[in-house]
Symmetry: C2
Amino acid sequence: MADPVTSTPSPAHQKKKRVLLIGGGSVGTIAALNLEKGGMAEVGMVLRGNYQSVKEKGYWVESCDFGELRGFKPTDVLNAVPDIKKEGLNPYDYIVLATKNTPDIPPSLTELVAPALPPDNTHTTLVLIQNGLNIEKPFQAAFPNTIVLSGVSLIGSAEPEPGHIVQDDSDRLLIAPFPLSDSSPALETRAQTLAQDFVTIYAASGKTTCTHSPAVLRDRWRKLVYNATLNPICALTGLDTGRLRLAPGLRAGLVEPAMREVISAARACGVELASEAEGEDEIVRKTVEMDPLEIYLAPSMLADVRKGNYVEVENLVGEVVRAGREAGVEMRVLGSVYELVKAIQWRTMEARGLVGVPKSKGDSGDGV
Amino acid sequence: MADPVTSTPSPAHQKKKRVLLIGGGSVGTIAALNLEKGGMAEVGMVLRGNYQSVKEKGYWVESCDFGELRGFKPTDVLNAVPDIKKEGLNPYDYIVLATKNTPDIPPSLTELVAPALPPDNTHTTLVLIQNGLNIEKPFQAAFPNTIVLSGVSLIGSAEPEPGHIVQDDSDRLLIAPFPLSDSSPALETRAQTLAQDFVTIYAASGKTTCTHSPAVLRDRWRKLVYNATLNPICALTGLDTGRLRLAPGLRAGLVEPAMREVISAARACGVELASEAEGEDEIVRKTVEMDPLEIYLAPSMLADVRKGNYVEVENLVGEVVRAGREAGVEMRVLGSVYELVKAIQWRTMEARGLVGVPKSKGDSGDGV
């Protein structure tokens, strides 16, 4: 018989959950705030670019949910994923990934996470608060006994400078287990329980709308209507989402057809985005007009291209194209957009020394 | 009865033809050299960016056809198209256009040329040494009695700095009348005679291969297999034609399908590019591999995007897409490429103040 104290704990008596949070950008930081402020978790955060700044001064957070905070630090500020065996640490209860996800760029996220997981892990639950399709697959392949939760974040936030987080649209986080590779009823139940537990500790702050959403796959696809289209088209043209609507012909000639392909791909994969209340035309219109025109918002992929950063082309575009095609959708527009953005990714890889090209045999001139 | 002296002139006795040449880049300058050195024409050249330099010092030409020339000047160096009525000039025999052709950017070429043409012109022949499809149409509409000749230049040349012309691949110029709107036999004969005459005065230098080519429309389409595909794809991805071949998947996934669409569009428009000697696969292969990989050549559209210049998107891509679609070809890949490059053109138009956007209502931040 289960111990009643641990099986139905009340927050006050429960031992705090140990969470490792990888990725201290704006999404990760608001997650850390919710988890720490709720009092049910202690968070070790793995930072990269802003490590030094946060280690010394903590975060400066301007948040529509939490107000202004100066010097916020989670329980631990780490500059690398801990090797729990070497460091003699107990396994974490949750490892939350809130980094970008670029499986085409080494190291892979599974390699990154591995040292923090026990061998043949069944204890630690992975939570991917990341965009895109099929992002769970590499984790399920590498760690077959590990429960992986899907987190779809609908936050509006940014990190204008290292350690300075601005959140201007409230945090809404949708959580559910990814479909399991081995879907035995027992495992299914355990996965749903873990999802609910994570929601409980995340929502305990009372500042967020964190929901255990059985429709999380639909939410993921819904977000892709924006992310698979506006993101790469802005990156390719250099236009923000406002100018994208102003440029003659672009909306009707490219953006809307691309969005319809995402909706068709979802449908062919068994996820119906349209409803009686919101038909396909309405989804397309709302998605194009999601950002107010005159804020001239640069979606992440355009911002990343401008900074010379890698872009999430495989999860946001490539997987959608592949999923659609496997399900019999032609993906005419998005297929070309994908090839073009992949080429930009390769150019960034070359600029960063990840791939090389043969030595030049002549001056690079201008041609016909 | 025709005057035998003017109807069958020999070069030595013939009065020199008066040629107005608009556009003093590398193609125009080599044309001016051929026309002047042949002794059968005197050339007035209209220059823009390099006017001051050429007016003062003449051209510095390094040419595989002419050797090195310092201080070359045509008969007249002009900084604007002359208004023949105001200036009391006789009509030109030929007006050669060797500028870029961007009908989407004002002023139009017909507006540019108009002051140099007599009213209801029948005397002056227009010669368009420019790339792209349907470039004759605006001239035929604006000047219905004017013969317009098609010039397809296969030169390899560049202007690395104003007034410095480097020609490293010999000049081959193909000339024929554009199809006439009123194709009466008499007009047809006159157009062919004028084309032959132009070839005679252009080829008189003996340094060029200028040919009266009845297949010039085919030559034009053949050049578009390169220009409608490599040009915009390089512009969109930032890759030169060498890196385009090295980037994984791009050649098979985008470049070759785009080229096949151009070949299909040509075929649907009655121009068969493939032959028994050179099948479609071979055309595609040769076109992809036309530039030696390791010279990493930036095609004109990429070079122009890098410089913030306008690109010839309408004649090189837009007209091909429209012609293909009107003839029943879907133009799946090139249709998307076209929309994307048009958006880049619009961005350049905004940067140059040609179009405006509503005032910003917030900071342009980074989004999802």
